[in-house]
Symmetry: C2
Subunit: 186 residues, 2 copies
DNA sequence: ATCGGATTTCAGTAATTTCTGAAATCTTCG
DNA sequence: CGAAGATTTCAGAAATTACTGAAATCCGAT
């Protein structure tokens, strides 16, 4: 596939962004290419277009499939696999968030729970330190709970909320008098 | 400084997490250590505790200072620099988000604008492709706008919103009949 | 069953990133 | 000013990560 300069710029930048967020450069570039491509393309075409080894494309596609960001699409009259990227930006975002939560946040929560228990029991971890761990655990649990509720809302509602921006603030109930501990205070 | 097993586990895990999000492992470990430490500590103490070179600690601290996640704190009667981490979890989160937006999202928006213009003008980029770029640009601009509004809200309001979870959905105005294009539809 | 193309795997190599130690610089105090 | 300690810089070494090409496997057609 022939890349126009605009496409090339996009693909290179996306590769760079991926690298900064812990995603392999080739994986990100391939994703960018499939995202831009007007129609499904073959692994070999990807390799040629981006000048990377066919085997690298194979492994990278495997990863993108695992993330659910790319799918195989059969093309009639051609027995080679063709690939295309998920197109809906909202869907792309939620897939990535969902996956990273599963792979990174949830395990972190487990570890924090274990650390909190261990620190409480060992009789040698400073009280301050214990509080930090417990506070962070509570904070992440609150965020996690929020995410769990919000992700279930229908897409139009989410988009509505997004478009409301700061105006949602009107609907937050006024806090009653007195000092209350809330998420993130620890 | 002597690490208890719970602290060590925390520090190692945090280093790992950092690595997955594009942050150098040592930087993340140092941040974890300072976050847990009951009082400000010196660079040398960090190097000893984590068994990394003094010079590496120096560079890593520089980076953490640039992120605004750590600060120098003078300790009377000691002319060595002491360091301590920001403690408020909410503040930590917003600093990180703010900084990554500035370093990664904003430049991405610029590049997308440039790509969109170039693609519109070159007469060789497929219409489909042009729409993808424009759609993504619009999507990211919407998110960016939302963030700009929300980050300005007072912390208690933000925490209030967080605790409301999915219940905010009640306040989204009902969409009028007819097909409307919204963020992320492209 | 077997042939031919498509695809995947993986061991070794290449490239990149991270880390170190020596030297340079800065800072404070006498 | 000069010494001693603290800190930073940076070139090269070490470690990690990514990429490649050859070989193995898969898969459909005959």
């Amino acid at each position: 596939m022939r890349l126009t300069p605009a496409m090339e710029r996009y693909v290179l930048h996306w590769g760079e962004m991926g690298a900064r967020w812990g995603v392999n450069r080739s994986v990100a570039q391939i994703h960018a290419l499939l995202y831009l491509a007007p129609k499904p393309i073959t692994a070999e075409e990807i390799a040629d277009t981006l000048s990377i080894a066919r085997s690298n494309v194979s492994m990278s596609l495997k990863e993108l499939l695992a993330w659910g960001l790319v799918q195989r699409t059969p093309v009639k009259g051609d027995r080679r696999d063709h690939f295309e990227a998920l197109r809906d930006n909202w869907e792309i975002l939620t897939r990535i968030v969902e996956e990273r939560k599963k792979r990174e946040i949830d395990p972190t929560l487990s570890i924090l729970r274990a650390c909190a228990m261990e620190a409480a029991a060992d009789g040698q971890t400073a009280a301050e330190t214990r509080q930090r761990i417990e506070g962070l655990l509570e904070f992440l649990e609150t965020l996690s709970l929020w995410y769990g509720q919000v992700k279930g809302l229908p897409k139009p509602v989410l988009i509505g909320l997004l478009k409301m921006g700061g105006r949602v603030a009107r609907f937050v109930p006024k806090k009653r008098a007195g000092k209350a501990r809330g998420a993130g205070d620890g």
